[in-house]
């Protein structure tokens, strides 16, 4: 996460420098669907937190009462919901790209569109990584047996919140700077 944060910090400073470098900066109108996507991602963060609380609670109860099997309960369902929202966000971002492309704004059209595509593409790649991590976590929870994957749960949900915060930051940069 520190590495990812550095990647985007470097890109942000690149954006500042590039904007100051020449007067060819043209503002682009952000596609409105981005705000819808933002709501989706924030909601997915909430469901991820809910999933974690439910799973941990279930596991503690299970460890006290019936060793041998660990039920997943409603927590697993919330993990599925988070996964679904994540996929929906990626789809929404792709729709935003299509909208821009339909307006004739491409990667190389002007510097602000270049940064828009680079930011969203790299964040998208991170998010796809997060979706894969969630899929792996769901598999671990389902096949947990006696040993609930608490560390994996903590790491995956923390990463998911990080992606959420990162997107809010990027959206802010995009609104203020493009």
């Amino acid at each position: 996460m520190a590495a990812s944060a550095m990647i985007f910090a470097a890109l942000t400073s690149a954006l500042m420098v590039r904007k100051g470098a020449a007067a060819d900066w043209r503002h682009i109108a952000l596609p409105p669907i981005l705000y819808f996507n933002t709501v989706i991602l924030v909601a997915s963060s909430a469901t991820a937190a809910l999933a974690r609380r439910r799973l941990l609670a279930t596991w503690i109860v299970a460890a006290d009462s019936r060793p041998g099997t660990v039920p997943a309960g409603t927590g697993l369902t919330w993990l599925y919901v988070t996964l679904g929202l994540g996929v929906l966000f990626v789809a929404g971002q792709l729709a935003a790209w299509r909208e821009l492309a339909a307006q004739g704004v491409f990667l190389a059209s002007n510097p602000s569109s270049s940064f828009f595509y680079v930011f969203t593409a790299l964040h998208g790649l991170h998010l796809v990584g997060g979706v894969i991590a969630l899929g792996y976590l769901i598999w671990r929870v389902r096949t947990a047996g006696d040993d609930p994957p608490e560390q994996a749960l903590g790491a995956a949900t923390l990463y998911w919140h990080f992606l959420d915060v990162l997107w809010l930051y990027l959206l802010l940069v995009l609104i203020l700077r493009l």
């Binding site: 520190a2 590495a3 990812s4 550095m6 990647i7 470097a10 890109l11 400073s13 690149a14 420098v17 590039r18 470098a21 020449a22 007067a23 060819d24 900066w25 990667l107 190389a108 002007n110 510097p111 270049s114 680079v118 790299l122 671990r140 096949t143 947990a144 047996g145 006696d146 040993d147 994957p149 560390q151």
Partner: protein, 600 residues
Amino acid sequence: MAETSEAPVTPHSDVLAGHGHAHLPPTGFLRKHVFSLDHKVIGKQYLDLALVAVLTGMVLSWLMRFHLAYPAAAVPGLGKIAPGVAAGGIITPELYLQLMTMHGTIMVFFVLTTAPFAGFGNFILPIQVGAEDMAFPRFNMMSFWVTLVAFLVLLASFFVHEGPALSGWTAYAPLSAIGKAAGPGQGTGQTLWALSIAIFCVGQLLGSLNFIATTLDLRTRGMTLMRMPFSTWAWFITSIIGLIAFSVLLPACILLILDRVAGTSFFVPAGLVVSDQLQPHSGGSPLLWQHLFWFFGHPEVYIAILPGIGIISHVLPAFARKPLLGPKVVLSCMGAIAFLSYTVWGHHMFLSGMNPLSATLFSVPTLIITIPATIVVLLWIGTLYGSRMRFTTAGLFCLGFVSVFVSGGISGFFLAQPSIDTYLHGTYFVVGHFHFVMGVAAMFGIFAGMFFWFPKMYGRMLNETLGKIHFILTLIGVYAIFMPMHYLGLAGNVRRYSTFTDEYMKSSLPLHRFITYAALFTGAVQLIFLFNVFWSRFRGARATANPWDATSLEWSTSSPPPFDNFGGQHPVVVNGPNEYGTAGPAGDHLMQAPALAPGG
């Protein structure tokens, strides 16, 4: 761990819950030797990769040196091997720049980063902290294979149309960003270069993450942070630097690739005319590339040298038979160097047209960073004072490291000042400086590590007689190569030129010939080392568990260590790594772990 969850309680699951060996010893050849998850195999693979890379890079430097000494002569045999790029064996100015670019890129990325950090670090770090493997063995394997792919992509650029990139290992924009118009090799070759470095960044990020997680989470009982050996500290700090530095170079390379293939304008200014062609770009900033590159590039210098500093701090006391002086000061100095390395990148850009005020601002931390480096050197020398040095090859290379580190470091004082650097920056003075302090010093660190740890890695000793001959001749050789470069630089001999046949530079030719002879000689001397490594791997004398009477954990296990490093047992650490010259049951030192505790 999911794989072991069904099994009955394993012997050590209660000692290191969740930290047991996640994978069983492999049986197939592929899993054992090729796609291995074992950190020891991966470490050796990194070292083998570095060996191939360093030989490649050295041959490239020979071609360059030959051309500098005999500008008009054909390189014997080159015309036959590479008729496409060097017709008749003649090295054109463009080919010279391509050789220089590839020499720099291969040496910095695939030798100085892979060998001391990824190679030795992978093999030794988990054993030194008493772990059975890295925290994420699968990521570890991916890290090596991704790095290998990066190397192959870079080598592939030799075989594409018009050959590899010629913009130097720093790939300054706009030369690197505009494609074919910038010269041969700036087409496909430069794209492959950027791609290779981007892939390399991914591999090193995976590796750095692993080092950090392993150091923080997998230490054995009693191994507090302050009891970690200096080499482990150095790898730990290096991986933190690497994590931050490579994650800046990665997006920089992505932006460069986009400028090249997607027509964006991050680094190319408007109205740029190259080779009589107006470039279809607008408003980018070439300086932006330099800032991003050197924000990575200067920490990269410390990625190359900090493991060396750690290895010397670890190996020197073992042969001086005295504890390292001021161990906590050495650690704080390493930390200070790591932090300061992020504040000095602008000193590579004094000539870039940057604001003179920022040049001064970058100059101050550059001078300050020499203070911790000097303190460490003085502590090494203080450790030697009054010691009964055992002059093994590894010990000699430690002394050699101190020598070349000082020789290279002193010229850094001059270069740190913008007014002096303005004159010296474009000359051979800089070439001599960074080859000493980053190239040769790091190589001596690698040699010291190799002679010290080879018994542990292969269960056999390297030949000491051959080693000492190799050391003496190499020491003489590197001074003969790089010392005269300082004089050339002071005399105003510019670097990166392929020939010095112009009237005003002709007087430098005899010295250039001398350097070339020295380079060919030093290169030939490395054959002794190569022979030693291969011969000793199979025929060397059998190594005992602790041939050097050293204290750290890797010497508490057999040579080579078993698959899980300590044979199902766990070392319990009761001492620091620095207990030399203290009477103990093992002689004049105290082992970090006097006994292994049975698992469970």
